[in-house]
């Protein structure tokens, strides 16, 4: 049907931001994901931002229960899911209420008029009908009786016998998807295939969804409400094979890859928690990679089991979010003391406490770097984009196994659920991080006999040998009590403790020379202002920089992958600029670390609204700092 002759005017645009919004039960995430797939297969660059409530079925029809999905796609490379939508699809009054404030004047607004009933208006908090009281006068409103047209289309279609009205109505998200696919010239074959696959066991439901999808598409062509359609040419992207990927899937694949690259079996001990659970779900599908997933009784058992597996020579991983990190903290301390490799993946969300489970934030950085009893340093690595989660996971595993240390890998809700096209890496481009276990005695006693000292360190990395059970002759006991330097037996000696505390610190600090230096992006080479970021703010910061540069201003950007230790050149980079701006989705956690460590009077820009920065917002901030 995408081959139909188009009778309406087609406008070429560089980019589009589209937002679907409806009740949490309306299937908006699925609709958004399908539109994304269509867009990815067309070859546009894209970035997505799902936004949904913490409740599975929040009170229907209320603004609190609205689920949204925003997609930004373009004919050039883009960095963010877009500031403001060009078109909003509102499935009911609550969706309109919750999203209208983000819609710029003149934007297209598609509303499901069937849902604008007295009861729904009341639930949404509208005293009068916003479609007729002037509320939407500033927008290009398309009034579509989406529900009734869906039911009509389903009833008319073959193979949908036996579905009741409610079941037919449920396909209305596919009607909306069809209409938007028409409006934006999206390919449709993928969606038809997808529906058939998803509802393979329920042919009537599949037929209903396809009928609704087609009806929506055809409606665009016949209605007079739409006079123009939009085309966004494919983006020019580097050659290679691409797929669209979300942060949590990329991270899961990164863990599978890390296991293969280290030569260790992967063990995931995890307790379900939003927004990290999808990693557990994903990895549990890949047992043929010698992956063991263990849904533990709690967060503590999740990390404990991973540490137990690591003692046995597995790549032990635990995945969680902020509240879970708090519970795992004691075990992290044990791992620091045992000097065993362990990966803790923290998909950050709004805090404190339960906070905002489905919203994004970067507020676990201080906890990751500093939040343990005693002097318990460990490396902290952060991913910067959904696909980067793959590479960040491999880097975290590299550090953990090479330095025999727990590592915290930070992602966040935005990266976890957001997606982007990913240029698939080749096998050869992945690092060689093969692990070798100890098999021999490493110390000669005074009487000339040899023995195994579990805490005798590699002089270069300061890592201790990893001797796994099953290795004859290397039997040893380790624990959370302080150990004698080298020999590893219990020691309460004050001087030894001082030495061991410093050795553990030196081992982590030494990693600074084994990581990529901090790179600066400054096309002008003359910038006086540096923006320093970490984690998921990479896209919005880079987009903000592009905007100010396009207006003739100069700014340099640097983005940290390693938050502990910092790259060796960090101080030199910071000191080379007049002003350093650090935007973060917290109240200044990197800022505090940077100021304390380098005595640089950096400026913070902070928000904790549960959503990523907008490019325009950072543009404004940058402009202010540049013109200071």
């Amino acid at each position: 049907m995408s081959e139909q002759v188009r009778e309406k005017e087609t406008r070429q645009v560089d980019r589009v931001v589209i937002r679907f919004a409806g009740d949490s039960g309306d299937g908006m995430q699925l609709t958004g994901e399908r539109f994304t797939s269509e867009t990815a297969s067309f070859g546009n660059d894209l970035s997505t931002l799902p936004d949904f409530p913490a409740e599975i079925r929040a009170p229907a029809g209320t603004p609190a229960g609205v689920s949204g999905f925003q997609l930004h796609y373009a004919n050039h490379d883009i960095l963010t899911p877009g500031d403001a939508p060009n078109v909003l699809v509102a499935m009911n009054p609550a969706a309109l209420k919750a999203n209208l404030k983000d819609l710029p004047r003149g934007a297209d607004l598609v509303v499901n008029t069937d849902a604008f009933t007295g009861g729904n208006l009341k639930k949404a908090g509208y005293a009068t009908d916003p479609l007729s009281d002037g509320t939407v006068d500033d927008f290009h409103v398309h009034r579509v009786p989406l529900t009734s047209m869906t039911i009509k289309a389903v009833n008319a279609a073959e193979g949908t016998d036996g579905l009741n009205k409610k079941e037919s109505e449920r396909a209305k998200n596919m009607f909306a998807l069809g209409l938007m696919s028409w409006l934006y010239h999206r390919p449709t074959e993928g969606t038809v295939t997808f529906i058939n696959r998803k509802f393979g066991k329920l042919p009537a439901v599949a037929a209903a969804n396809i009928a609704a999808f087609r009806a929506g598409y055809n409606y665009g062509e016949t209605t007079e409400s739409f006079s123009v359609t939009y085309e966004v040419a494919p983006a020019r992207m580097a050659p290679g094979t691409y797929r669209n990927i979300s942060g949590n899937v990329a991270l899961s694949y990164g863990l599978v890859a890390a296991a293969e690259l280290t030569g260790l079996p992967l063990f995931l001990g995890s307790y379900p928690i939003t927004p990290a659970s999808d990693i557990l779900h994903e990895l549990s599908k890949h047992k043929n990679f010698n992956v063991r997933t263990f849904q533990a009784e709690d967060e503590i058992a999740g990390v404990g089991s991973a540490l137990g597996a690591a003692f046995g020579g597995a790549l032990g991983v635990t995945t969680t979010s902020g509240p879970g990190v708090a519970l795992k903290t004691e075990t992290l301390g044990l791992a620091v003391s045992l000097e065993l490799p362990l990966l803790l993946v923290d998909i950050q969300r709004g805090g404190p406490s339960t906070g905002l489970p489905t919203k994004t934030e970067q507020s676990d950085l201080s906890m990751a770097v500093l939040g343990r009893n005693g002097e318990a340093p460990l490396p902290v690595v952060a991913a910067r984009s959904p696909s980067d989660c793959f590479h960040a996971a491999i880097e975290a595993a590299r550090l953990a196994t090479k330095y025999r240390t727990p590592v915290i890998l930070l992602s966040d809700g935005y990266l976890a659920n957001g997606s982007e096209p990913w240029l698939l890496p080749s096998r050869e481009s992945l690092p060689d991080i093969k692990v070798t276990f100890a098999t021999e005695h490493n110390h000669t006693a005074a009487d000339g006999s040899t023995e195994f000292w579990p805490y005798l360190r590699d002089p270069e990395t300061l890592a201790r040998p990893w001797a796994v059970p099953g290795t004859p002759g290397l039997e040893h006991r380790i624990g959370g009590l302080e150990k004698a330097d080298g020999q590893g037996t219990i020691s309460y000696d004050p001087a030894n403790h001082d030495k061991m505390v410093r050795l553990r610190r030196a081992k982590i600090d030494g990693i600074a020379s084994d990581i990529e230096p901090l790179e600066i992006e400054d096309p002008s080479g003359e910038a006086k202002v540096l923006v320093l970021g970490w984690g998921s703010t990479y896209g919005p910061i880079a987009a903000g920089c592009r905007r100010v540069r396009a207006r003739g201003m100069k700014v340099a950007q640097a983005h940290l992958r390693h938050l502990n230790p910092f790259p060796a050149n960090t101080g030199d980079v910071l000191r080379a600029y007049d002003r350093v701006l650090i935007p973060e989705m917290n109240l200044g956690q990197l800022l505090t670390l940077i100021r304390a460590r380098y005595l640089v009077d950096a400026i913070g820009y902070n928000q904790v609204r549960g959503l990523p920065f907008k490019a325009a917002e950072l543009e404004g901030v940058l402009e202010d700092v540049i013109n200071q």
Binding site: R243, F289, F294, E297, I478
Partner: protein, 353 residues
């Protein structure tokens, strides 16, 4: 010292996955060079000696044996056994052991814990290890007191106990570890006494034979903070009259003159009666329904003036680690060995030239 390699045929399908010792072992093979630091007279010494004496009988390669403990007096145990070992954090040993056992079926994994470690701070992990039936052997040293923190009451201390933290008497109602384990449908639950070497060895042997989680409660005397807690079961003059030895398939008879017995009362509960009573109960540790074992666990010195020791329950169901590894094998059979590049290329892909 008897030197044996698995002569008693201690084996099961999971134990068979653990490499056997190349040559006969002695207690010395399992004795580390670390100085043992429990208080003189502590019951832990006797347990350590019994375990070290028993391990050669198991006949496993020493390097494939692992002891994992939590925190507390008993949790120092791994330092003294010359195998692989981990002294972990308070209450978490069962969780750590689960990860190790699941990922390494070629290891014999033992957990050493105490009443505070396993039943208070780590209660949750114990319950879940038991219900999952992970192939680990849990030795729970129950001294009914907190020793390492110098004498506070524990979750197994009797109500009204005067301790440093309860000068007017403890208020908590204690729980019974065996009842608790059976409530979680543990597949193997036993009890023994620190000083009864022969009995403890027989229970360890049964635990080792069991494929799955084995919980062994060991009454252990803390002579510093709770001395004499189990004297009724240890004193020569009272022992036989207050100890019920559980033997599968044998009538539950006890007493110096073997004249007392456990009988089933009209309401179905168990009670103490005469050995001549036709209603004397025959012990069945293999019953799939845990009701009989649970009823036995309710007999205590307080409730019945007799305490059962021995194996309450020993039923064979698939162990969790077995099932996990079966799924790995099944997935590999079904989908072939994982191919990383194929995984990355799965889903909708497109090419740019």
């Amino acid at each position: 010292m008897t030197v044996t390699t698995n002569v008693d045929g201690i084996s099961n399908r999971l134990l068979d996955l653990v490499p056997a010792a190349g040559s006969p072992q002695t207690r010395k093979d399992f004795t580390s060079d670390q100085e043992v630091r429990w208080c003189p007279g502590c019951g832990d010494y006797a347990i350590l000696a019994t375990v070290q004496g028993f391990l050669p009988e198991l006949g496993l390669a020493r390097e494939n044996v692992v002891f994992i403990s939590g925190i507390g007096c008993s949790s120092r145990f791994p330092y003294y056994v010359d195998t692989y070992g981990m002294h972990s954090i308070h209450g978490r040993a069962p969780a750590i052991a689960t990860g190790l056992a699941v990922s390494r079926p070629d290891l014999s994994v033992w957990v050493v814990t105490g009443d505070g470690d396993a039943l208070s701070i780590g209660g949750n992990h114990l319950l879940h290890a038991l219900r999952r039936n992970v192939n680990v052997k849990i030795l729970l040293f129950n001294n009914q007191i907190y020793g390492l923190t110098k004498g506070q009451y524990s979750p197994t201390s009797e109500q009204g106990k005067i301790t440093k933290s309860t000068p007017m008497g403890s208020l908590d109602r204690p729980y019974n570890p065996v009842s608790l384990a059976l409530g979680a449908e543990a597949t193997f639950v036993a009890r023994s006494v620190d000083s009864d070497r022969a009995h403890l060895t027989s229970v360890l042997r049964a635990a080792a034979k069991h494929p799955g989680t084995a919980l062994v409660e060991i009454f252990q005397n803390c002579n510093i903070f709770n001395d004499g807690a189990f004297d009724q079961l240890k004193d020569r003059t009272t022992r036989e009259d207050h100890t019920l030895r559980l033997n599968h398939g044998e009538p539950l008879v006890f007493g110096v003159d073997s004249d007392r017995a456990i009988i089933r009362a009209a309401d179905g509960s168990l009670a103490v009666g005469a050995a001549t009573d036709p209603a004397v109960v025959v012990h069945d540790a293999r019953a799939t329904d845990p009701t009989h074992a649970f009823a036995l666990s309710r007999l205590t010195g307080d409730s019945a003036d007799v305490t059962p020791i021995g194996v309450f329950r020993d039923v064979d169901v698939p162990a969790y680690d077995e099932l996990v590894n079966n799924q790995v094998t099944e997935a590999t059979d079904r989908f072939g060995d994982g191919d990383l590049m194929a995984l990355l290329n799965s889903g909708d892909t497109w090419s740019v030239d």
